[in-house]
């Protein structure tokens, strides 16, 4: 669709391993509109982290092979952009990143203030505007303190003087959120930001993330394996399985009318009551010799011959609701 902030089309990525080429992403499509919070959900091996990293351009250079596809950011293909522009302008400025692990993301030997200072020196939005010198440093500092306050870190001045190990996990994650917002990005990629946190801290961080995103109008790509968190803050959700995107829908339609068999099985296996424990029989396929066609077909009880040969193209199920399935679980409501 036009006006998308990010459009990934047909992305195919492989990782070279000792055992062969692992086809980690198999023609993935993803669209994120400006200001929307998009949830990327999937189990292990689905490729969500690889997709997030592809957008940032931080795939391991020695092992990753981008075989096909494009990643359009405001119309520009990031895959064709040279590293200089990518590193200077896009990464860390227009697209920022909140990693999964708040514990190891900081340099332990420098104070928070030093690390943020480094960030602002290169990635301050004022720099792009050409402002420099003492006036800029002053304004940057004000902005830093303001953001630290917004993420509810107590006593921001003293935080700047502390070392990373002096902060708790929740505090570090808040700090990462602040640092991701400082450069004034258009897109924040949050890779499983609450997975390592306790549930009460998770609730706090999710609340924070949602309100800040809304307030600053920034788009968020939020990867997780936990559907509950996507329910909390996402506008739209995309489900991935074994390197393929299978369904994408606005949150109400996603939970109300899931259409792909995998999505429905996934929702069904969420813990509710003891009598209804259900898993999905079978195992996630290896990616070196994955099943042909729709990769879920060996475990799908609705699979037909076509599923095993050609991967389905996206079908519209409703407004912004796409599913890749020959036999979706719902009737299409698309016009």
């Amino acid at each position: 669709m036009d006006g998308d902030l990010v459009r990934v089309q047909g992305l195919r990525v492989g990782f070279a391993t000792d055992a062969g080429l692992a086809q980690v992403l198999d023609g993935v499509d993803l669209a994120i509109r400006p200001g929307e919070i998009m949830g990327l959900v999937g189990e292990s091996g689905c490729g969500k982290t690889t997709l997030a990293r592809s957008i940032l351009g931080i795939l391991p250079a020695n092992a990753a092979r981008i075989a096909a596809g494009e990643i359009l950011f405001e119309g520009q293909d990031l895959l064709r952009l040279d590293e200089g522009r990518l590193a200077g302008d896009i990464r860390g400025r227009q697209i920022t990143y909140i990693p999964q692990d708040p514990f190891n993301s900081f340099n332990p030997v420098f104070t928070i203030g030093t690390q943020i200072g480094d960030l602002m020196r290169w990635k301050s939005p004022l720099r792009a505007e050409g402002v420099s010198g003492r006036a800029r440093r002053r304004r940057d500092r004000e902005r830093v303190l303001e953001l630290l306050h917004l993420v509810q870190l107590p006593n921001p001045e003293s935080i700047l003087r502390k070392y990373p190990h002096e902060l708790s996990g929740g505090q570090r994650q808040r700090l990462m959120i602040a640092m991701a917002l400082l450069p004034g990005p258009k897109l924040v990629i949050a890779d499983e930001p609450t997975t390592a946190l306790d549930v009460t801290v998770q609730a706090q961080i999710l609340t924070l993330l949602k309100s800040l995103a809304r307030r600053s109008g920034v788009a968020v790509l939020f990867t997780t394996h936990d559907l509950g968190t996507t329910y909390e803050i996402c506008d739209r959700i995309t489900v991935m399985y074994a390197g393929q995107d299978v369904e994408s829908a606005p949150v109400a339609a996603f939970f109300g009318r899931p259409s792909h068999p995998y999505t429905t099985r996934l929702l069904a296996s969420l813990p509710t009551t003891r009598d209804a424990i259900s898993g999905i029989p079978g195992e996630i396929p290896g990616l070196i010799t994955p099943p042909p066609g729709c990769r879920f077909n060996p475990r799908c009880d609705r699979a037909v011959e076509e599923c095993r040969s050609v991967r389905p193209s996206p079908t519209a199920m409703g407004a912004q609701h796409l599913v890749r399935c020959y036999r979706p679980m719902q009737e299409s409501r698309a016009a």
Binding site: S44, G45, T49, E192, H225, I284
Partner: protein, 287 residues
């Protein structure tokens, strides 16, 4: 074992390691086949003063020494001595150092501290000096060289094994074995030792190089096996008074030592690369 072959294949992939393997293979071959490959096998003990200090030529490929003996042949037999000394000394050092490190690393308490402080004392003295002191006291012979080397080098293994045991001790599977009721001996010998064996192997291989160098130094200083044993270090010592004229006298034994030590180092490095990442790599599928 399949693993052994896998490691060999990994070693072969890296060129410098391959070079090291070739050098070591040559060393072993030479040592075994010395009588066959030598042009003047008798020269190990005989001498022909008439032919002293001849430069390399058709008759004597690498020249002759001050007694007229063929340097090439003596070098080949010298390989045997080198291997004997190195292998035996290391074996003894390992047999002393590894158990000490294992016990000290697994248990806590006075005994453990005592053992490691003892090894620290040995390590505080420069290796060469220690080796010289021991060899001097005991007198020049092959056995004494081996003794001196083992006594000098065992602490390296003790310390390595100590550190690795301490780390391995914290691993979940060790804790699980203990929770299951395994006795400390069982845990040390059947669980910890196999898992730290790769560092021991790497250290041993690299250690060989250092040991050979020290052995040659002892020989050079006259503390090694007495003449007419064709030990490489001693040969270099003998050559001193005839340099720089009779350059072949020192150059070839020197080259031999160089190649052998380098061979061990290259193989050791290659082993470390081949063994470690395999072990560290997690088998679990990540998210």
């Amino acid at each position: 074992m399949a693993r052994f072959l896998f490691i060999l294949r990994k070693l072969a992939e890296d060129r410098s390691t391959l070079l090291g393997v070739i050098l070591l293979a040559l060393l072993v071959l030479v040592a075994i086949l010395a009588p066959v490959l030598a042009t003047h096998p008798g020269d190990v003990s005989e001498f022909h003063t008439a032919q002293r200090l001849h430069p390399p030529g058709a008759e004597n490929w690498l020249g002759t020494d001050r007694m007229g003996s063929d340097i090439y042949s003596r070098l080949l037999f010298g390989a045997r001595i080198t291997i004997t000394i190195a292998v035996t000394a290391i074996a003894v050092a390992v047999l002393i150092g590894v158990p000490i490190g294992l016990v000290a690393g697994y248990f806590d308490g006075i005994a453990s501290d005592l053992l490691m402080r003892t090894s620290d004392i040995f390590l505080a003295v420069p290796q060469i000096v220690l080796a010289i002191a021991i060899a001097q006291t005991l007198g020049p012979s092959i056995e004494n060289v081996i003794l001196a080397l083992s006594a000098t080098y065992w602490p390296f293994w003790a310390r390595l094994v100590y550190a690795e045991t301490r780390t391995c001790r914290k691993e979940v599977f060790v804790e699980a074995a203990v929770a299951l009721g395994a006795s400390p001996w069982r845990v040390m010998l059947l669980h910890i030792l196999p898992n730290i064996s790769s560092s021991i192997i790497v250290r041993t291989t690299i250690g060989m190089g250092g040991t050979i160098l020290t052995a040659a130094t002892l020989g050079f200083l006259g503390l090694g096996p007495p003449p007419p044993t064709p030990e490489w270090g001693r040969t270099i010592a003998e050559s001193r008074e005839f340099l720089p004229m009779a350059w072949w006298y020192a150059a070839f034994p020197g080259l031999a030592i160089f190649l052998v030590v380098m061979g061990f180092n290259l193989v050791g490095d290659g082993l470390r690369d081949a063994l470690d990442p395999r072990l560290r790599r997690s088998a679990r599928r990540g998210r």
